[in-house]
Amino acid sequence: MRGEFALPARDWRRRWHNRAATTVLSILAVMAIAPLFFIFVYLFIRGAAGLSWSFFTELPQPVGETGGGVANAITGSAILLALASAGGIPLGIAAGMKLAERDRGLTSRLLRTVVDLMTSVPSIIVGLFAYAFLVVPLGGYSAWAGGVALAVIMLPIVARATEEILNLVPDHVREAGLALGLPRWKVTLMIILPGVRAGLTTGVLLAGARVTGETAPLLFTAFSNQFGFRGLDQPIASLPVQIFTLASNPDEISRQMAWTAALSLVFLVFIVNVITRLLLRRK
């Protein structure tokens, strides 16, 4: 076995320890991956049974009736994601740009701390914030509140990703731009940012995927509805919340729909992850 360089025969104890450790570590690795297979196989078997075209195009039926789909949740998730992106991506990128300047001014230091703290705020707490910030003043659940909650979750992820990518840009690129007599803002916006487009896209896509799967912050902000889109100031359905509601219903039809919706959601998230992986590899 590898990792035993010509151990003398009397060192059977060390040899044995080494082999035992190798075996145990391999078993631990299998234990880490195994749930992925259990979950994925189950999701596929249970979820695929309910796949049909109408599942994606129809509105949900009342509890207990067959047929119906989750079209409301899919459009809802797309709208919430758009709202979250509209807020989270520009603010996140700007914050990342500020952090990447790596100066030690008060603003930068505070911003760094705040971005650190924001990544560790539990997502349900962000929901509480959006509730107090928008649901209470507006007098009801709304797509706005859900979008703001998701944007707050997205922001630090995008900021971190942007900072990491900008730090990879070699200084001479910036210096070359400045040497041409370009002002700093033009160098940043027109040379550096376009140069790291692929990396930025990756970061933003991953943040989007993460946010699409969030349920907790939407429970008492966007809430849910059964009718599809009725305006941004109205409650709006989303795929994760729909899965939660369906899973809580006692009937078999709802459960079936929950599995199929979960399969669609996981499929979506995995696709994004694989695409970003390929994008990164091409670089």
Partner: protein, 386 residues
Amino acid sequence: MYLQEKHTGRGTPPPPGSGSSFADGGDEPVSPLSNTTSTLRSDSSRGDQIYRWVLRGISWSIIALFVGLVFLLVKMSWEAWSQYGFGFVFLNQWNPPLEEFGAAPFLVGTLITSLLAVLLAAPIGIGTALFLKEIAPTRIAAVLAFLVELLAAIPSVVYGLWGIFVLAPLMREDVQPFLANWFGPETLFAYGLGHLLTGFAYPIVLIGSQFGWSEVSLSILSENMQRFSHALMDGPPMGLGLLTASLVLSIMIIPTITALSREVLATVPDSIREAALGLGATRWEMMKLALLKTGRAGLVGAVLLGVGRAMGETMAVTMVIGNRNEIPTSFMNPAQTMASVLANEYGEASGLHLSSLAAVGLTLLMVSLIVNLLARGIIRYLEKQA
């Protein structure tokens, strides 16, 4: 990097030899010659000024956003704090119809589920990181690492769904009856544990009685310890409860711990590994000496970040923990965490109930911020040393 602090004065030339300060942000260094092209310069610096102010403005609005988040939570929970004081956190009562509130049942639920989850996940996560770095061939390691990352990408509501419909029945039919059989009340394990705990606790009580604690007789102490250990696995096997929630949580934080442990192990310089191997260590001895020992602080940080993630996790836990607002006495019991009580009750609450829930939320926020800051501090300290 921080040279620019020294020459923020507009128009002063940069100190000689600081050519690379072009790249460092801050004010644009202006050469004495630029007076001749004053129009061009003022144009560009005006653009830069706007750019800088925009970034600064956005930065401050993000800072304000976070301060606002904390402020709003404090404001919402004010009623509860003024009613109960800070003792609210340790009050063991939660009865919305009677308007009695306290966070203790949820604090205990969160602590037990997170600790149990991390006890399971830490060895698996760190072991997997070691396996990926030292044992698996590079190609296989890359694929496995990607699979672990995918596990982290699964939304928590899907874990919850799987937990309810796959894991919970399995726990109910097989695992919990087994546990009750071997570790439940009236088993050898329970008696043994009871005696063991009595043995540990009695000297403490004896010493305590010298310092003014109320005296406890051995028989009463033993009785309490026995009651505790017999209750550990007591209760009907329901499938939903503390144990199931902890299991789901541990699956969810394994990817976090694995990824962070890999980063920590990667910071250990190869020279240390090679030194160990060069001295004739086997691979396992090298891992112990070079990797685990050198990376100790970082691994603790990784595990702590896993704890932080587990404490804030909401949906999966809400779906499998069984939702009972009392301090659990058995691992079979349904319970409630700080996050799950918010998910369950916040939508329908009002008045003092709502305010108390916000207070639970603020407690959760503070606990997770502390755990995360601690973990990050440890990791950053280690990085500085490396």
